[in-house]
Amino acid sequence: MAKITYKHPNGTDTVVDVPSPNTVMRGAKINNIDGIEAQCGGSAQCGTCHVYVDEANTLPLPPMHESEDDVLYGTACPRRPNSRLSCQLPVTDEIDGLVVHLPEAQS
């Protein structure tokens, strides 16, 4: 279980408790949070679950695999150093308090 904050482009926040096993992408989908499309359903293929991890983040996130890196070059909003695919971020107790910023568009 982890508390995750999804920050919307309009300045509002949605804070939810997401149980494990899940991903940050699934956390948004099961809570009906707009701004994450996840067209492919979590197979790191479509790039429509793009998030910007908060720049102040110190929580441990898994290293980026090559294919996630590749998909992030094709996202609708520009890639930044803190870009991740939220489907590749598993929810664990260790990321309790994670803050992610949703991009303006996913596709």
Binding site: R26, Q39, C40, Q45, C46, S67, Y73
Partner: protein, 409 residues
Amino acid sequence: MTTSAIETGGEAETEAKTFPYQRACPFSPPPEYTEMVQEDVSQVTLTGSGLRIWTVTGYHTIRQLLTDPRVSASRKHANFPFYFIAPPEFRTETSFIGYDGQEHVNTRRKAALTFTSRQVRKLRPRIEEIVDEHIDKMLSMSPPVDMHRVFSLAVPMTVICELLGIPQDKHDFFIKHGTALLGGHSSAEERQAAIVEVNAYVDDLIQLKKREPGDDLLSRAMADYASSGEEYTDRDLFNMVRLLMNGGHETTASQISLGTACLLENPDQLEQLKADPDLVKPAVDELIRIATIGDTAVPRVALDDIEIGGKVIRKGDGILCLGMAANRDPEVFPEPDKVILSRGSRKHLGFGHGVHHCIGADLARLELEIVWSRLFHRIPTLRLAKPFLEIPRKEGAVIYGLWELPVAW
């Protein structure tokens, strides 16, 4: 269909038929789906195994189920919904299509980089060449020509072989074995023999790539395994090659033939496509939706009791997520039986959904885009050489399609 209806014999005629059901037309769901769609979650009896399994038809229900951690794609479960007599290898030698969890992630990653959108975009010039070469070949023949054999099978086979590092002289070998593995009429022995023969070939290829690595998926997968420190055997590699080979040619070939036939049968839509080349991108997705060739190719097993709309799929039960029904959901696709190229979007379930979403989806889209751009530009008078409904179809196959596509120009 409700359980009570089955028990009371109220649907005796339908119940006597075993699943998969036949399509009345290649672009329409089987008539039996009409009632199943009303129920969303139904039970059917499978051909071959005789198993009672669940079918799910609703667009939203399927999307939910395919991201539910309580379902498994592993073929090892006793009630895995095979609708033919499957040899033991179909349960054990699956590669990542039949893996769950971290094993799935780790194995799929060995192939994933080849199929990302960015990598696939780089293939465009080569695929254009391949498509043009095969149009040249068709044009050099006297019509009528079986376009399915000369073009639809040959184009994706050439593409996937080049990606995997398989030489051109093996195309016919893989087409023959792909038909045995995925076709609707193969016996368990024929399917088993196909696996053994393909594995023997791929085994030789692996030894070659170990000595002389190339710029291909197989060589990269071996390097990835080596650098990750994960344990693997040659068996992991040939199962992956077989999966990508089957997923990479039979599917796209079926879609080329069915999509082309669909365009020829809908001349108003074809004229729009000819007049507006930009229409081809949405057209690709609309034609994938209309044909849904993988209708029966999304099987799962429940790992726990799953309640949907008052019905309980019991732990251990087999489930088939019927994409053809979901892709006709009128709330998602108004007037779902109409072919409207301009409305094509990626939201259909033709490539499945969830972590097992087709790894080659972007490659397939690009191949289809190039095919339908070039084909009608180069052969504007292309036409069917036989009434469409007389063309034999692959009923009951894992991947739906046509056995032939006689065309003239």
